[in-house]
């Protein structure tokens, strides 16, 4: 399939068909598929029940578990090396994300969830930057599933904490004239869905956009030949930016999850 695209681009004589072929190639790589390009000249057909992004989800999770199993097999009194790095992130998530938005007690209790969010998303993002691998977070279903976890904590979690009535009471701010509530409460209610939806879109769009930009810049070389070689440098720049974005988006997803869950667990804030 991969080679088909390349040959299509190579044989396309006019500009329109060439650009269409490049576009098809890019969209093909951005979307989920049932084949895995393992080498520049080979690809593996995947079974129907497992798509490429599915493999990436499982691979990222396995990689993370193996990495952390190695790192945490013994915890030194004075941390060094990789364990120190992981611990710095965990401490940051606990002290700068969980506790400020959820309070001392809830924050400490929910830190493991946010650590899992952060490291899982970060691993999926970084795996996507390795050649022959894809970022599972560039699949909207993956980000939707993660956003649903946050959504469930925002709704079901808050209902368990405050009761169903208490949960809905949290949408009625105190000290506001009652006619305004007719506008404010529905907006707040819709806001719960919008916030979760925004979480899903933000992570997905950032990941998929980075990949499309890299592929588009490389596609220029296919379309214009050696004249467009400097675009490879630009692609490298965007790639490095994506390394930063991998961390940034994992952080933002974790931070906003904590913010949204905290809003519903402590509505008076």
């Amino acid at each position: 399939m991969n080679t088909e695209f390349i040959s299509t681009i190579a044989v396309a004589s006019d500009f329109d068909s060439k650009s269409q072929a490049v576009q098809a190639f890019i969209m093909h790589h951005a979307a989920d598929a049932h084949e895995w390009t393992l080498l520049p000249h080979g690809w593996q057909q995947l079974p129907l029940y497992l798509s490429l992004h599915g493999i990436m989800v499982l691979f990222s999770a396995t990689l993370l578990v193996v990495f952390l199993a190695i790192v945490c097999r013994r915890i030194p009194a004075a941390p060094t090396g990789a364990y120190n790095l992981v611990e710095a992130f965990v401490k940051f998530i606990r002290d700068e994300i969980a506790i400020p938005f959820l309070g001392e007690k809830d924050g400490r209790r929910m830190t493991p969830l946010f650590c899992s969010f952060f490291f899982f998303i970060l691993t999926m993002n970084l795996v996507g930057l390795v050649p022959c691998f894809n970022a599972a977070t560039s699949n909207i279903n993956v980000t939707a599933a993660l956003a649903v976890v946050t959504f469930l904590f925002m709704t079901v979690g808050a209902m368990v904490r405050h009761g169903v009535i208490g949960f809905f009471k949290g949408f009625v701010p105190s000290g506001i004239p009652w006619p305004i509530l007719f506008i404010l409460v529905p907006v707040e209610l819709i806001g719960v869905f919008i916030k979760a939806f925004a979480l899903m879109i933000r992570l997905f769009a950032n990941e998929v956009a980075g990949h499309i930009v890299v592929f588009s810049l490389l596609g220029l070389v296919l379309m214009f030949g050696y004249v467009a070689l400097p675009a490879v440098g630009l692609a490298l720049g965007v790639y490095l930016l994506e390394v930063f974005v991998a961390f940034l988006q994992a952080y933002i997803f974790t931070l906003l999850s904590a913010l949204f869950i905290g809003e519903r667990l402590h509505p008076s804030h």
């Binding site: 500009f15 329109d16 576009q23 989920d32 989800v57 611990e87 606990r94 493991p112 899992s116 993660l146």
Partner: protein, 180 residues
């Protein structure tokens, strides 16, 4: 060239039809797979990583806090001990100077007493000497007077002859001497 590129962009913007993969396609199995994976991952990582790491963090924070408190306590103790030492040194110094002052006063008193006594003794010695000299002088004077009287009697006798007896002469000379 510019024309071509803009045409190209226009072409790219045209929605792709016919078997192009849709990146927004909803796939329930994919979502379920992610849920299950995330759930398992969250449980496994909680047991394996987050719990021990957070526990280690708490323990280290506790031990650091304790060490800080201990060091503060030790510092306070050191300061107290130092103050105590300083106070003791000061006390010792005061005591020493007091003792020296006392000793000096005592020595001065003793010196004064000794001096007075020696002066008294000296005075007594001088007085005695003076008295002895006086008595010696008196004795000498008496002896001289007696001698002179005898001499005068004998001389007068020699001059006048034996006209007068010795007792009368003697009384005469004594009277004369007294008058003289």
């Amino acid at each position: 060239m510019t024309n071509e590129v803009s045409e190209n962009v226009a072409v790219v913007e045209v929605p792709h039809g016919g078997g192009s993969p849709d990146i927004l396609a909803v796939s329930t199995p994919m979502m379920v797979l992610t849920w299950v994976t995330f759930l398992l991952l969250a449980i496994v990582l909680y047991k394996m990583a987050w719990k021990p790491i957070l526990k280690a963090l708490d323990m280290r924070e506790q031990s650091i806090r304790k060490a800080l408190e201990d060091s503060e306590k030790a510092q306070a103790e050191t300061a107290a001990a130092e103050a105590r030492t300083r106070r003791m040194l000061q006390d010792a110094e005061t005591e020493a100077s007091r003792i020296v002052a006392e000793a000096r006063t005592a020595a001065e008193a003793t010196g004064r007493v000794l001096q007075e006594r020696s002066q008294q003794e000296a005075r007594a010695l001088v007085d005695e000497a003076r008295r002895e000299i006086q008595s010696a002088t008196d004795q000498a004077r008496q002896a001289l007077r007696d001698e002179t009287a005898d001499l005068a009697v004998s001389l007068a006798g020699k001059v006048i002859g034996e006209s007068m007896d010795e007792t009368r002469h003697r009384a005469l000379v004594d009277r004369l001497l007294k008058d003289a």
